[in-house]
């Protein structure tokens, strides 16, 4: 015995029905076909997200063209530092510009090596303004450190090791030789780009040191060391290194 629905209610119901139909049709036609494939999301979004090209290629990619680096770099404390950390993303190198490190190496290196509370104590750090020179004068880090094979670790260690290892000759090692030995080798044999001193002609030695003292030399650190030395000290060093046996005849020409 249902009572007939009033007209206005029927109209309302029809309207509601139409609205629902339109809404449902819209849902069906506007929803992406892949939407329910794996869940309540558009499955096609996943391959889209997976499609991008990597910018950072990893060190293995760099070493393909720079195999010379695989000799030193993997053995050094910087072995965990990927090429692109300092050189920037390789993208599609080999033609990429800007893979050179920034000119300001102090800023680059101190990003990791500036002494700072919160940095783990075992991590090598320097106090800017005290290293390399206590008076605050600065010098590009790469004058002394090779970023591909960094070190030495502790200056004190080096100094003691050098002292006991200075070559024994008839000429006593002058005190200044410890400083030279840090970069030019314990026996003055030369280390990497730092030339050998052993066997070097004394007159040539003095001439070059005087050049550095005048400020006309090409090395900032040598200028600094030379300026700190007196004529007598330079003469002593020159005599000492001349007395040492040259490791290789080629080095005599230097």
């Amino acid at each position: 015995m249902t009572q007939k629905l009033p007209k206005h209610i029927v109209r309302l119901l029809l309207l509601l029905g139409c609205f629902l139909l339109v809404a449902y049709a819209a849902k069906v036609y506007l929803t992406d076909p892949s939407y329910y494939k794996y869940g309540y999301y558009r499955a096609d979004a996943v391959p889209e997200l997976a499609a991008g090209a990597p910018l950072y290629q990893g060190s293995a990619y760099c070493l393909e063209c720079h195999p010379e680096r695989s000799a030193d770099w993997p053995l050094t404390p910087h072995k965990a530092v990927q090429c692109e950390v300092c050189h920037g993303a390789s993208e599609e190198c080999p033609v990429k510009e800007g893979t050179r490190i920034p000119a300001d190496t102090i800023r680059l290196c101190s990003n990791c090596h500036e002494k700072m509370p919160a940095r783990p104590a075992a991590h090598p750090q320097i106090v800017l303004g005290e290293h390399p020179f206590a008076d605050g004068e600065t010098m590009p880090c790469i004058e002394c450190h090779d970023p591909h094979a960094p070190g030495p670790v502790a200056r004190e260690e080096v100094t003691t090791a050098v002292e006991s290892a200075l070559a024994a000759t008839d000429v006593a090692a002058p005190p200044g030789a410890k400083k030279c030995a840090k970069c030019h080798g314990k026996q003055g044999e030369g280390v990497k780009k730092n030339p050998a001193l052993a066997g070097k002609e004394a007159a040539r030695f003095i001439e070059q040191m005087n050049l550095y003292r005048s400020g006309a030399g090409d090395s900032k650190i040598m200028t600094r060391f030379a300026k700190a030395l007196s004529d007598e000290e330079i003469a002593e060093l020159a005599e000492y290194y001349q007395s040492l046996p040259a490791a290789h005849p080629r080095q005599l020409k230097e």
Binding site: I9, Y24, K37, Y40, A50, V85, M116
Partner: protein, 274 residues
């Protein structure tokens, strides 16, 4: 009373609309089920030919004792993922926790701190300043942070349009085509891992570099970390670094009480870190 109820027109109306709605609901439900069933049973690998997402369960590990706060991760992430180069848009970041003598609460700052922006020179480069070098510091450490790619992510739950979702391999992704920019997910994330791109009107987040991990690479923040403070890998693979990391260390997660089930595991963080 009974008669009154039967003749009640409002009741009639409600019951009629109820039935109509139920009918429509059945149709709608049936067709959406149909839709779900028609999705092919996926014999080929998805999402790419070389990568089957059902075979992986990615997780992330962070050893805070190794972090030196160099922010190379932030730098690389921004470049790799084309993130807006300013202080407020980032997918990963590093927080510095410093306890000064006589203070109980840690002082926390990250790359978006004005002093750090000043030290780095601009909002597009990243560097911590050395403001505590002369302070009496009792304890200090860095904490790298990133989206936790939670097992039960709140951001996915609140998304009204299904734009953000949990993929089968454990990553929480976002579909910019479907995002309507309501920012519910930004609000919902207890870790502050999401950000909003004003220019595009969509939310964005870390994808663990989905375009890299699906090609067998590591996320870029893991790749560039010079101290290996960040590790990433597949929990399904017993020989993976993350398996080793999680199995052999006392690990903890951030805000476990939030119930999101975060998948970033930490070593060496203080109780104050959240």
């Amino acid at each position: 009373m009974k008669n009154d109820r039967k003749k009640n027109p409002r009741r009639e109306f409600l019951s009629a609309t109820g039935k109509a709605l139920a009918g429509l609901g059945v149709i709608a439900g049936g067709s959406s089920l149909l839709g779900a069933a028609t999705g092919d049973a996926a014999t080929e690998s998805f999402p790419t030919a070389d990568y089957d997402w059902t075979k992986h369960r990615w997780a992330y590990g962070i050893d805070a004792t190794k972090c030196i706060g160099c922010l190379r991760c932030v730098e690389a992430c921004k470049a790799e993922n084309d993130v807006v180069r300013d202080a407020t848009h980032f997918r990963t970041w590093v927080e510095r926790y410093v306890y000064l003598e006589g203070e109980e609460k840690a002082r926390v700052d990250s790359h978006s701190d004005p002093k750090n922006i000043a030290a780095s020179g601009s909002e597009a480069t990243y560097r911590f300043d050395n403001r505590y070098q002369d302070a009496k510091v009792t304890k200090a450490f860095f904490v790298p942070k990133i989206c936790n790619h939670c097992s039960h992510p709140a951001c996915v739950q609140v998304c009204p349009v299904g734009a953000t979702f949990k993929a089968e391999d454990g990553t929480v992704l976002i579909d910019h085509d479907y995002c309507i920019g309501c920012r519910y997910c930004v609000q919902a994330c207890p870790y502050g891992a999401r950000y909003f791109i004003e220019e595009e009107g969509v939310s964005d987040k870390c994808t663990w570099c989905y375009h890299r991990i699906t090609k067998g690479l590591q996320p870029v923040c893991v790749d560039v970390c010079p101290t290996r403070a960040r590790v990433f890998g597949d929990l399904n693979d017993d020989s993976s670094t993350i398996r080793e990391f999680v199995d052999n260390n006392p690990v903890q997660v951030l805000k476990p009480e939030s119930g999101n089930g975060p998948m970033c595991f930490y070593i060496g963080i203080d109780k104050d870190v959240s």
